[in-house]
C-alpha cells in the first residue's frame, strides 16, 4: 500500500488492519505517552485546495503525535489562488522533500492524478476529492461503528447502517458504502430521488425514499450534510420540506433501537438535516467521531510511512 486514494485500494484484510492499528494507537493516546517517535524526520504536507476544519486539523494532530514535521498549505494565501496548477504545486512539494501529501481538492480524481503522475515520489492520501471519495472519513466511521456495535473485534457482519441525505454530492457516503459493505454491514441509502447519483443501483447497498420505515431496524444512522455550495440547481422544494422528510428529529430518534447510534461527518446544518436534540443526545457519537479520526489517521500515516519506502521510490 503506497497511497490511500479510494476505499477500493484496500482489501478487507488491510482495512481491518488499519482499524486494529488505530485501536492500539487510541489506547496509547489515552495514556500518558501521547507523542511517539515513529515518524521522526518525515515531512508531511497538508495540501488543502478546499476548505476544511476537521480533516486538516485531524491529520495535523495525527502527524504531530507521530513526530512527523507538518507543513500546512491551503489554497487561500498560497500560489494556488494565483492560478498555479496542481503539477507545479506538486513539483514544488517534491523539491522540498515531502514524504507524503494529504490532498483535498474540489475536483474528483485530483488525488489519483497526483499519485499517477511522476510529479512527486511521496505517498498521496486522499482527504476528499470533489464528490468522489473521502477514505479516511469512512475508516473513522467504521472504527466508531465497530467500537460501539460490532460483536467481534473484526468486521461489521450483520449490522444495518442507514446513510441519509445528500448522497449525490457526498464523497463521505460513497466511501462509506464501499467500506461498510466490504466489512460485511448492510447499508441503506435514504434520500430524495434528486439527491441520489446516477448509477447508485450498482453500488453495494440498497436505497429507500422513506426514512421512517428503515429507522426501526437500523443499528447506526449516519446523517449527511446538505452541500449547498455544490448545488447549482433546485433539488428539493424547500428546506422545511426536506427537513420534514429527511431530517433526524426527536420523533424519529424514538423509532430507533435501544442501542442504535447517531453519526454525522460534520460540519452540521443544525435544524436542517439534524435537530439539536438528535445531534447532542445520548445516542450521538458525533464528537467521538472527531476523536477517533485522529487515531485512525495516525494508523493510516503509520501504515503508509513507517515502513520501508525504498521500493516505492524505485517504481
Amino acid at each position: 500500500m503506497k497511497h490511500l486514494l479510494s476505499i477500493n485500494d484496500l482489501t478487507k484484510f488491510e482495512a481491518i488492519e488499519i482499524l486494529n492499528t488505530a485501536q492500539e494507537l487510541a489506547r496509547i493516546s489515552d495514556g500518558p505517552m501521547k507523542k511517539l517517535p515513529t515518524l521522526r524526520g518525515r515531512t508531511i504536507v497538508n495540501l488543502f485546495a478546499e476548505d476544511s476544519t476537521r480533516t486538516r486539523i485531524s491529520f495535523e494532530a495525527a502527524a504531530k503525535r507521530l513526530s512527523a514535521d507538518v507543513i500546512n498549505f491551503s489554497a487561500k494565501g498560497s500560489s494556488i489562488s494565483k492560478g498555479e496548477s496542481l503539477k507545479d504545486t506538486a513539483q514544488t512539494l517534491q523539491a522540498m522533500g515531502a514524504d507524503a501529501v494529504i490532498i483535498r481538492h474540489s475536483a474528483s480524481g485530483a488525488a489519483q492524478r497526483l499519485a499517477d503522475s511522476r510529479w512527486m515520489s511521496g505517498a498521496v492520501i486522499n482527504a476528499g476529492d470533489g464528490t468522489h471519495e473521502h477514505p479516511s472519513q469512512a475508516l473513522l466511521d467504521a472504527f466508531t461503528i465497530r467500537k460501539h456495535l460490532a460483536k467481534s473485534d473484526e468486521d461489521l457482519n450483520g449490522l444495518r447502517i442507514v446513510i441519509v441525505g445528500d448522497v449525490l454530492h457526498s464523497r463521505v457516503a460513497r466511501s462509506n458504502v464501499l467500506l461498510l459493505s466490504k466489512l460485511g454491514a448492510h447499508v441503506t441509502l435514504v434520500a430524495p430521488p434528486t439527491l441520489l447519483p446516477v448509477g447508485v443501483e450498482s453500488w453495494p447497498c440498497q436505497t429507500s425514499y422513506d426514512l421512517d420505515s428503515v429507522l426501526k431496524s437500523a443499528d447506526a444512522v449516519m446523517m449527511l450534510r446538505l452541500q449547498m455550495e455544490r448545488m447549482s440547481e433546485l433539488f428539493f422544494p424547500s428546506a422545511r420540506e426536506y427537513s420534514r422528510y429527511f431530517g433526524l428529529n426527536g420523533d424519529r430518534l424514538r423509532l430507533l433501537k435501544k442501542d442504535a447510534i447517531v453519526m454525522h461527518p460534520g460540519p452540521m446544518n443544525r435544524g436542517l438535516e439534524i435537530t439539536a436534540d438528535a445531534a447532542d443526545g445520548a445516542r450521538s457519537v458525533i464528537v467521538e467521531q472527531v476523536a477517533n479520526g485522529v487515531s485512525v489517521r495516525m494508523a493510516i500515516l503509520y501504515m503508509l510511512l513507517a515502513g520501508s519506502t525504498k521500493i516505492g521510490n524505485l517504481l
Binding site: 488492519e17 486494529n20 492499528t21 492500539e24 494507537l25 489506547r27 496509547i28 495514556g31 500518558p32 505517552m33 507523542k35 511517539l36 517517535p37 515513529t38 503509520y302 501504515m303 513507517a306 515502513g307 520501508s308 519506502t309
Partner: protein
Amino acid sequence: MMSIALPAPDIARALTRIAHEILERNSGSESITLLGIPTRGAHLAKRIAAIMESIEKTEIQVGTLDTTLHRDDLRMRAPRALAPTLIPALGVEGRNIILVDDVLYSGRTIRAALDALGEIGRPKSVQLAVLVDRGHRQLPIRADFVGKNLPTSISQSVVVHLSELDGSDEVLITGGSQ
C-alpha cells in the same frame, strides 16, 4: 538442519528458576511489575507471574509492552501490526520493572522497550528476563535472568514455540551449520 535446544520440561524448569531468582533479587514480589514483550514474551511473563503467585500466595502485577513504535528498524521493512500495551493498575512509577522476552539477540528490541517504558514513567529499576540468550549483541545490553544461554552462529535462527500459540513448548535452532 533443525534441532531441539530446549524441550518442554526444560522450559518449565527454566521459568520456575527465573521466577525464584526474580523474587530473591527483589526481596519478594511487592515492588515487582512484569511486562512481557509481545508476542511470546507476553505469554512468558504471564507464566512467570503465575509461578510467582503460587510461591508468594499474592497477586503479581503483570502486563505487556509493545515496542513496535519505538523500533529503529521500522524503515527497513514493511510496517508491522501493533500489539497491545497493557500496563497493570499500579503503573510503572517507582516500581521494579521486569521486562520479559523470549529470545535476546541484537538487543534492539530491549532498547526500544526501554524507550517505550520511559514514555510511560520512571521506574525504580528495569531488569530483563529472557528464555534464551543467543548472543551476537549489537548494543550494550545484557539480561539479568536467563533461561538458557544458547551459543549460535549468525546464520542460524532460534525459534520459540509456546503451547498458548503453537500447540507445544519447545525451543528450536534451525539453519546454518551446527
